[in-house]
């Protein structure tokens, strides 16, 4: 009697109806769990590592010993050190033996001598410059390639999106050869032959020239994405509105500003946010070009991920500090995405109302 009562109550309860109404979630769950297993779990483990003093080898090696944290997380011979790595990263630097706050008080610009803050500066600068370039190039190309009088539009577009299909590692090695400092480097070669320079320029040997080469390469890698988004947005511009504006005597610029721009604004903005996130996480370009900085100033151009990689996997491999850098980077990225999406009011674009 009492058992059936429980069953009865369960059947009438909210839990049962919630479960049966949400049965379709079972279709989505396997994919979500697979993704979570390889994204969320490593992220969690990374944040745990960043609270220890784990290294690849040596006294605190992750792989020697069988220590665990909270009984389940393997941390090897490493010890829990709390927020020490983060404090080191943000406020002091063992190489300089000086606090960031003191340095900031005496000379605000001197905080960029600290590896982490220098990396932050370079990363944000890279995001700003390369995103501006990508958007201008992408939108400009789309305007040219949707022009009424261009013949073979689809053919040109097909050619122009091919960089998306080229394996990134290949493109980057090719661009490294383009910027090679020797005479045979494509850029040096063309400039020498045009008589614009008299001797080869070491593109990758100077800090800011190398930064410029990163930006150009990133633009080349990412313009197809912006171009595709803008082209399809341009194809959705209301032709009748354009005709009406033309009849009313609006010139090319007025039509662009008052009709075209408002209707492509949202897709382009969305693409810009996504491509900024991609710029923020650029790793291969600076790494393969010159390991994140010219030989004379190693690591000066290290974007945030290059900095984390240098600390974590180039000897002496410090997993904990590298983990802390990656976590700080993920926090910045998450914050950036959150603010951009909220301010851009893009939530409704994705159907979340």
């Amino acid at each position: 009697m009492s058992t059936s009562n429980v069953v009865q109550r369960y059947k009438e309860s909210d839990i049962s109806s919630v479960l049966s109404e949400n049965k379709p979630a079972l279709l989505v769950l396997p994919g979500f769990l697979l993704w979570a297993a390889f994204m969320v779990v490593p992220m969690f483990y990374l944040s745990v590592l960043s609270l220890t003093n784990a290294t690849q080898s040596g006294q605190n090696s992750l792989y020697s010993g069988s220590g665990t944290l909270l009984g389940v997380l393997p941390v090897g011979a490493a010890d829990f050190v709390g927020l020490e790595n983060y404090m080191d990263l943000l406020f002091t630097d063992s190489a300089l033996q000086q606090g960031v706050i003191n340095a900031f008080m005496s000379d605000p610009l001197s905080i960029f001598e600290f590896a982490f803050w220098n990396s932050m500066l370079v990363t944000w600068l890279f995001v700003a410059v390369s995103v501006f370039g990508k958007v201008v190039l992408g939108v400009g190309l789309s305007m040219v390639l949707t022009g009424n009088r261009v013949r073979g539009k689809r053919f040109f577009r097909g050619i122009l999106i091919m960089p998306m299909g080229i394996p990134v590692i290949f493109s980057i090695v090719v661009w490294r050869a383009v910027f090679s400092s020797a005479d045979f480097g494509l850029l040096n070669n063309l400039l020498l032959r045009a008589g614009l320079i008299s001797e080869s320029i070491g593109w990758l040997q100077d800090r800011w020239l190398a930064f410029g080469t990163y930006v150009v390469t990133e633009m080349w890698l990412a313009y197809p994405f912006m171009m595709l988004i803008t082209v399809s947005a341009l194809q959705n511009v209301n032709g009748e509105l354009l005709d009406a504006a033309k009849v009313d005597g609006a010139g090319w610029f007025a039509r662009f500003w008052h009709v075209v721009l408002p209707s492509i604004k949202r897709p382009v903005l969305f693409g810009t946010i996504l491509t900024s996130a991609a710029s923020f996480q650029q790793f291969l370009v600076p790494w393969i070009f010159n390991k994140g900085g010219p030989g004379t100033e190693p690591g000066k151009n290290a974007l945030i991920l290059v900095y984390a990689y240098r600390e974590a996997l180039v000897s002496p491999a410090d997993y904990a500090l590298g983990g802390a850098i990656s976590i700080v980077m993920l926090v910045f990225l998450g914050g950036f995405m959150y603010v951009a999406v909220k301010r851009g009011n893009l939530a409704e674009e994705a159907g979340e109302t």
């Binding site: 396997p30 990374l46 009088r149 999106i161 091919m162 299909g165 080229i166 491509t275 790793f283 674009e349």
Partner: protein
């Protein structure tokens, strides 16, 4: 089978369209000249067409120049990147020697055998001695001197194919139901999850670098990287997981375009739900399925950083091999012309895939199907 033939037909039409482009162009030019002579087409309009097409051509040529430059290097092994003669717009000598070096010697096998992962060799049939171990393709005929250093692309390609195939099998088996559920059913947190997926489209791939440390540590601790372990398989599982957000969302937007009345008709006729999916949804979403298939395949085929960190020397996939051979890598590297030929052999098929799939990719990235 009809899906495959439909896709083949679409592809055939696209290729035909591209191949006949010169013919259509010639027709239009003749028509325009006629029109100009008869005065029915204003010359100003023609001038505009010529100027804007030229502008589009110039921009395209400039952006693609580095790739063309690499092609000229691959085709002209005697010159190569190290000569001071510099860039040649049209190489003075053209030879396929380096491409022959890339492919390497191909001989007939001594035995045909089939094996499966985790199970091992299924069977092995010896080939008669008269036709075993004979050259099918001998690079020496193209002037390749040391044929024994060549042909690594075959081994790298095999590794890549192994990883990419498992990525596709695992990925598609979770993406297809996921996309169907997102498109046709409602459940708690559906919109929120969809939104997360959309935001992750550009981020998911490169998150791998940020997580590289813990991925490496976890793979190590779980024994995925032990000498006897099947590292390539676990790498494929990782790629499949990373490919879920973007591709689920992409396929969902395609399925949204299929009118729901088809399904309703099938329900009225008494079809069970598996049959609705198999006979209504899949055939109507085939363009989307093909696109997603290609993206998931390429996720396994082209990824570099994680593969380079996780895989051991004998397990290199193509991207890792390309970098290992490149003059930019610190260790063993080959001449520029060999590297150029090797990486073009790897990249050109992918470039062609993107060229022909342009409109589907554009459809997928248009963000037009985000409502709902």
């Amino acid at each position: 089978m009809s899906q495959a033939s439909d896709i083949a037909r679409l592809l055939y039409e696209d290729i035909r369209h591209v191949a006949l482009a010169p013919y259509r162009g010639a027709k239009e030019i003749r028509y325009t000249i006629n029109g100009l002579q008869e005065g029915t087409i204003p010359p100003k309009k023609v001038a505009w067409t010529v100027v804007s097409t030229m502008a589009a051509f110039l921009v395209t040529a400039m952006l693609m120049f580095p790739i063309y430059w690499i092609l000229t290097i691959a085709l002209n092994p005697s010159g190569g990147v190290y000569t001071t003669s510099g860039v040649q717009l049209i190489p003075d000598t053209v030879s396929l020697r380096e491409f022959a070096w890339v492919i390497g010697p191909i001989t007939t096998p001594e035995a045909i055998s089939i094996s499966l992962p985790f199970i091992g060799k299924l069977f092995s049939i010896p080939v008669p001695g008269a036709i075993a171990n004979k050259y099918v393709f001998n690079p020496a005929a193209f002037g390749v001197e040391n044929i024994y250093t060549s042909g690594q692309i075959i081994q790298y390609g095999k590794n890549s194919a192994y990883v990419a195939l498992w990525t596709v099998v695992i990925g598609m088996s979770v993406i297809l139901p996921g996309a169907y559920g997102m498109s046709r059913r409602d459940f708690l947190g559906r919109k929120r999850l969809l939104y997360v997926y959309v935001l992750l489209t550009q981020v998911a791939g490169s998150l791998g670098v940020a997580l590289l440390i813990s991925l490496y540590a976890l793979f190590n601790l779980l024994g995925f990287m032990d000498p006897g372990a099947n590292t390539r398989f676990w790498l494929a599982v990782y790629y499949a997981g990373g490919a879920v957000p973007f591709n689920t969302w992409l396929l969902k937007t395609y399925m949204d375009g299929i009118p729901i009345s088809y399904e309703e008709a099938a329900i009225v006729d008494g079809a069970p739900s598996w049959r609705i999916v198999y006979e209504v949804i899949i055939p109507l979403a085939k363009a989307g399925l093909a696109t997603v298939f290609v993206f998931v395949f390429l996720a396994g085929w082209t990824e570099y950083i994680v593969a380079q960190t996780i895989l051991g020397a004998g397990q290199y996939t193509l991207p890792v091999g390309v970098y290992a051979l490149s003059p930019a890598s610190p260790g063993f590297s080959v001449a520029w012309s060999k590297f150029a030929a090797f990486s073009l052999t790897f990249a050109v098929p992918l470039m062609l895939v993107y060229f022909f799939m342009q409109r589907y990719i554009q459809q997928g990235l248009s963000f037009g199907g985000m409502e709902g």
